[in-house]
């Protein structure tokens, strides 16, 4: 069992630290004959990449992904695909101070307590740079899904950041890709930017909620109980650094609803397939997809790497006041958007493969 892997049949293992020579992902179980090249993956990495605009860390890395194995003559072979991203812009000197001090809210202290040893340069394995490898792997998943089930569309967007929430009545799917915050409302962009720049000036950071939707997922993927599609998604999203909450459909709000409000009523659609009056369930009933949009949300905590001084201790137990210099995002939630999309893509592909492997062609038909 690998503690750095996710997925069952489509299995991704990420490796690497932010300040080592490289990081990447070992992707095992991708079906053969999926058209694949580096450019197909690079587009998603570019979306996640730091240094793109003033709302992100100014660390500037090309994050160029190389495919080292598993692809031959432009197609996957069915053998492991090794993805490598070299680290090129490592200013390790920025991190020297924290070799012996534990930053509050970071993994520093617990890594040390667990391993008695840690790569303190940029957080080592706990760095958000690890998510670049996920994004690349998610790009593979997207291409494989395209081959297996054409028409699936996966999109993530922010729905909240600190005090701000999106206005769902203005939801615009097409606006998402056209602003730095990946929000579905072009009119709100200026407000979000002002809010974030205000926080940056205060040397502070803020949390966010990201929502990821998969459209076009066929009914019948997932499984009951321990392998609920809800569980797979919760696990995938909670595994992202800094995520502390995950919701499917109504999520935590389901606790506030009555049974008569929450259950989505079912009707016969024009093509005979079931249609639903609503989607409180987030596209998943009993752990299995309904054919509606699959909807997951997750909360990203504010980064703890801030310039505001905070009380902490050193390895020897002595008190320390910590200010984290270096180049950090005031809202890491922004960059979590493509990461959430990648995780959704990986889960959907994995479940499509599992469904084939466990069921075959025996799905029930309705109508």
């Amino acid at each position: 069992m690998s503690m750095n892997s996710f997925g069952h049949l489509f299995r991704v293992t990420t490796w690497g630290e932010s300040h080592g020579p490289a990081l990447g992902a070992t992707v095992d179980g991708c079906p053969p004959n999926v058209p694949l090249d580096e450019a197909m993956l690079q587009q998603w990495l570019d979306k996640r990449r730091p240094g793109q605009n003033k709302n992100m860390t100014q660390r500037n890395e090309p994050d160029a992904v190389k495919i080292l194995s598993g692809v031959f003559e432009g197609k996957t072979t069915g053998t492991p695909i090794q993805l490598m991203i070299e680290n090129t812009d490592q200013r390790s000197k920025d991190y020297g101070d924290i070799a012996t001090t534990f930053r509050p809210g970071h993994a520093d202290i617990t890594y040390y307590q667990k391993y008695g040893n840690r790569d303190y340069r940029g957080g080592g394995r706990s760095s958000a740079r690890e998510t670049a490898a996920r994004v690349a792997a998610g790009g593979i998943a997207r291409e494989a899904i395209k081959m297996l089930v054409p028409g699936v569309e996966i999109k993530g967007y922010m729905v909240a950041m600190g005090e701000l929430d999106i206005d769902r009545s203005k939801f615009d799917w097409d606006a998402i890709d056209q602003n730095d915050f990946w929000i579905p409302d072009a009119d709100a962009v200026q407000q979000w930017e002002d809010y974030l720049q205000g926080l940056r000036k205060e040397h502070d950071s803020v949390g966010a909620v990201v929502e990821v939707v998969a459209r076009g997922v066929p009914a019948g993927i997932g499984a009951p109980i321990y392998a609920k599609l809800d569980t797979e998604l919760a696990s995938a999203m909670m595994s992202i650094n800094a995520v502390k909450g995950v919701e499917i459909g109504e999520g935590m709000n389901a606790a506030r609803l009555k049974g008569s409000e929450n259950a989505d009523e079912i009707f016969r659609g024009n093509d005979g397939a079931p249609v639903y009056s609503s989607n409180h369930a987030g596209g998943i009933l009993g752990g299995i997809s309904t054919g509606q949009d699959v909807v997951v949300r997750f909360a990203v905590k504010p980064t703890s790497s801030i310039l505001t001084p905070r009380a902490s201790i050193r390895k020897d137990g002595s008190p320390a006041e910590v200010i984290t210099k270096g180049r950090h995002d005031p809202c890491v939630g922004i960059r979590a958007v493509p990461v959430g999309e990648a995780m959704m893509a990986c889960v959907i592909l994995d479940q499509l493969l599992l469904h084939r492997g466990q069921i075959g062609e025996n799905q029930g038909t309705i109508g």
Copy 2:
């Protein structure tokens, strides 16, 4: 890979339907020499058992657990422990109507779409009865934890139900076990009961939020990234029927906080070990326990088995109006409390074992 299992080294596989001859759990990986008998498990099953009071389903089953293997002369042997609970009060006739109709908000339709086949008696595998097996397995985990790390205490309680929330200023740990709702506030019990009886009379149901806390968990268990303790807990809780959201520490609210508010400051305790000024992180930093209380919350949706008529369809696509007779809890969240505790116990034991298996004795010491 079993789709009906959870855990890595302490691995629990549940089996059985609500209306078959029996259900149970196969528990593999329990350390040897743990004192164990059926009475130790029965106490937790009794806590979860239906028919205890008027806030629960009136189905009345003794839920008596039998140990079929893995225990010899009062101690575990290290081999698989088979737990069996016979189903004794199955009124299958109550469910006859729904053999061809899909109840809205239930797994009926998706099970059929996936498998082309389902045990419609009481929901088969999707029945909340499955959780009895988890509770029994959790009882084993509690005993094993006791042997490995004395002093760990695990308790679950409701924190919200529909419109009601607990008042945290009146939090009383000892009150929890003394009321039907497992709420930490004796004074609020009457209000909760009135609210629930009102819903019952309206033939409706309601959701709930359950919080589970583990006290005394040592620092250093869990792992970075994909095997974050947060992830393991999210996965465990989301796998419970009807759960649609999971939070660690601040949970979804972390999105609303600034970095300066969220990071828990660290100080040197009297015994040299770190102490924290707060616990926004829910006892987990970078996926690894800090030694603080481990805090998880989950939302249980309202049961969809209600007497209020709802629109649906039949297998042949024809419309149907569904009223679910049978004996159902107006708030399944109440019975989810001991289930959440059991899942917490299983996760903590599994992580204790993994920590030994991956690390040995090399933890870093501070101060």
Copy 3:
């Protein structure tokens, strides 16, 4: 990870000791809609059952299997199938002497060294009775294979026992099921029986080689390297109690051959599909099935439970002379035949499911 499980998508976990109340298997991942009832499984258990003839232990148990879950209206539902076999003929008193003494060649000493605790009644978990659960699970696998790929035939037979070997020139597939030794040569039965009765009179036991063949397996199942079909079979067969060697095709003899002798030449068959001039490879090239017979052999060591006195020690280190009374097979290899068949069935089903799950419909066609 369960230490008592095998298989990936078709996953079998056995549980139970020879002298507890029951033993069985939890079977997860069986496809839905496979026709199944207890009688279909009982036929294979009856084949393995002790007490049938004088070449076997005289312990007499009906070994009646019960299906506790996962089957509804005569078909599998896709959820876990629990199989239970109650232990009815346990003469525990026969084993009292060995509670503190370690039998040479048995698991007694190592179980104690590992667990500090063991169920000494009949060897507990190390008893050959555990294989009854495998045989029942294998019966499920046979039915599922039948549904997925009609025409697969799986048969095991003895090819050697002590000094005796079968004469391959007289190989008779149909004779196998018609003698107590499952040997493919009716004329040799008397000789085998005389040999074994001679050993029984000497209070001794003897080893055996069992060969299992699967006919009609389609080309393309298995995987390269770590998941070679050879590896899966080796793992399955070596996991049977008392097995100490496994061979695929030529097996150990491959070391004696030249490349020009060993490689099976390939020709175009009448239907366009490849045909081979020979089957040194045992139906597996590069870990993947060729469409030829899949051939595996395994050696079963002689049982160590004999009436001939052997030197050993007790828990306290003092010397002991051990004679194992009780009812034991002079050649456990005989009963290993249906067990080997069951393991083959489980592996083939698992690989058929995996192939679907990893590949889909993209197999290459030839000719």
Copy 4:
């Protein structure tokens, strides 16, 4: 589940093809604080490396291993270790002929049948070059074992090659590392060399048997039944390319022995620990180590890449006569020696970690 991984807690996933840019291994689960650098791994790769002498392929590659992650300041951190070996001497043109022809005895045809696609350059994933990654990973396992249990020694050697067998009466442990065949008898080296050169001149190849021994392994590692140490070793060795048989201790010969011959008698040693009169069991009873030498043997088939013409077919079904040019070992068994050692090291480390994780400190003591 990764089809390209092995191990449970110490988990190795290899990746890469013989003619891609690089190959390597992702090693997850190595304990932290193990001293490690590239030179420690390179020594084992140098042992396996082609081009060293005239008994091996003349392909000449430095096989220089790079550590890309998981090591900081000369010690492992507990996070994934990525090992990369760049392919520098790829004469792809040698392989052009076989793009559409299937070599008899190779994975060519089955890869194509499974995947509909294959990297025909040098066999792609089926190339013996994949084993370089195992050897590097095995080097990590050796260092970790050294830290956890000092004094374990792992050595592999050839015991048979075609018609030749070692003379066990002349067994010399120290001679093994001093000849090109890794045989434990310096006097036999010339004979082995003459035999192999004769085969090379005949444009043929030959199989071999390799034995690997682990000395100093503590009693109590392994597990009953499906996770027998025998099973783990069988699985590990059978996963090596071209291996078709695996034996533990007496192996296949156990079938020829009587119970009175096979069971190793037990005595009390001078230090109170058990000693055995013999080691027919190969150091493993009931799947658990006895503390004796752990002994495994495996047969490597002769390489099918020979210059002797063999009948085959092309993708289109037309007949072809195949001569494999390129640079190939006349006996790949020689290079399998360090690979077998590496697999043994990986299994032993994994089992040591599992034992800690499942048992803790509860081993039984004797005497």
